[in-house]
Symmetry: C2
Subunit: 261 residues, 2 copies
């Protein structure tokens, strides 16, 4: 891909694309991961590549539900790790919750590579200055983020085969799961187990978006960075949440793009 000029109006999107192309070459992603990313790009294009107001409300709700959880966990796949790994480690450090690598097209090699990448990011972040609003020992908070996924000693009941594998200390025992970019079958199974499933999905019509407890219709790196800013700043309470309302609102924002011609 050619160099992207600093002034390019879609620079952030093109840089994300390049990071995924690079990650695919390193073997971090599933075969169809780039296609999934492209689908997201299209929906984001219709959102004008901005976090819409209803997505902000959903991010606030996700923050509140993670803060109120007994056993929250953040489940990440390849695309999420590459695009939002850093923000999610920072969030895990503040919530004192584990991060679990859990991928749909499961191969030991890919899990190992993602675990190694996350551990590198954790080290990098532990050496950063503490966020302004954070009181405590940032370095030790970050270092103590448990990165799960190497051992599959748990099961997601209701799923078959490798897709049912998870960590007993992570997804299996969690009451609230933040799982950006989840697959429809797995989202359904987790909901059926009575867990709260919080997702980030740019397609408001996807099965995942429609089944989740709370859906943030936004690009995963933007949403994760805003989520971090809410979680570090304040503690709020979960509300009586109408998820269909945010899906409809997102579709309406996308529909407004007709006015751009």
């Amino acid at each position: 891909m050619a160099d992207i000029p600093a002034s390019h109006p879609r620079r952030a999107s093109l840089l994300r694309r390049q990071r995924l192309v690079d990650a695919a070459k390193l073997g971090l992603l599933a075969d169809s991961a780039l296609i999934a990313h492209g689908r997201g790009e299209a929906f984001d294009y219709l959102l004008d590549e901005r976090t819409c107001d209803s997505a902000r409300t959903a991010i606030r709700e996700v923050a509140a539900r993670l803060q109120a959880a007994q056993h929250p966990v953040i489940s990440v796949n390849g695309n999420t790790t590459v695009l939002a790994g850093k923000s999610l480690i920072r969030i895990a450090a503040i919530l004192d919750c584990p991060l679990e690598v859990n991928i749909y097209y499961r191969t030991p090699k890919r899990i190992e590579k993602l675990l190694a990448l996350l551990k590198n990011l954790r080290k990098e972040i532990s050496e950063e200055l503490a966020p302004n609003q954070f009181s405590g020992d940032w370095k030790s908070a970050v270092e103590s983020v448990n990165i799960l996924g190497a051992i599959s000693d748990g099961r997601i009941l209701g799923l078959e085969g490798p897709r049912s594998l998870c960590s007993a200390d992570g997804i299996e025992s969690a009451d609230v799961i933040l799982v950006p970019l989840e697959d429809g079958d797995r989202c359904e199974a987790l909901i059926a187990l009575g867990k709260q499933v919080l997702v980030i999905d740019l397609n408001p019509l996807s099965r995942t978006a429609r089944q989740a407890t709370v859906t943030i219709v936004d690009e995963v790196s933007r949403a994760s960075s805003i989520l971090f800013s809410y979680i570090v700043k304040e503690k709020s309470n979960p509300t009586d949440w109408d998820n269909d309302a945010v899906l409809k609102d997102a579709l309406e924002v996308m529909a407004q793009s007709v006015n751009r011609i």
Copy 2:
């Protein structure tokens, strides 16, 4: 990717995805080709994976303009070849026009592989029964389709570097170019040269879609197959074409998807 049941409602889309994943492994596609395909999938999802009425009108217009052209050419890249190569060779056979491999991220190896694939498809199609409405020698019509792209003896004025390369007998001397899935810069340069540029693009807001002479907002394999059926059946005349109207209509169809929740 798992086997796709025959009853799956999105089977056609999933099979297309698998063909592209396989083609990527064979080195037929550019690094970011799968991302581009994914973007298309998302827009097609919003179109309910159907050719909308305004797209049908655009396909009819493209048929008429190709039939009325002095020197038509069909320019294909990797994704187009994989998804719609067969239909486009059939169209070239009926129009008696050349097909040119012309790719944005140009490497000799990839061009060679695409030329080989197209020549195989041409052979396969030459052995098929002639289409019902076709009067003439199908085998020799197909065999005489000139597949260009091996030699870059032409230039697209207004572009720099490898992106400016083309065939003198193809794009350079064409008055009308059918170029599904074209890049925005190249579309602009071809238009500036006074050529008619006919594109197939699922994103009605893309630069290509907005600059082209006629834009078919539809999935490339569906549109190419319908285009073939129009071209083999009848000869019609180009109209005074309002391209913005089809773009607006496609966006309005997409906006209707809000009612699916």
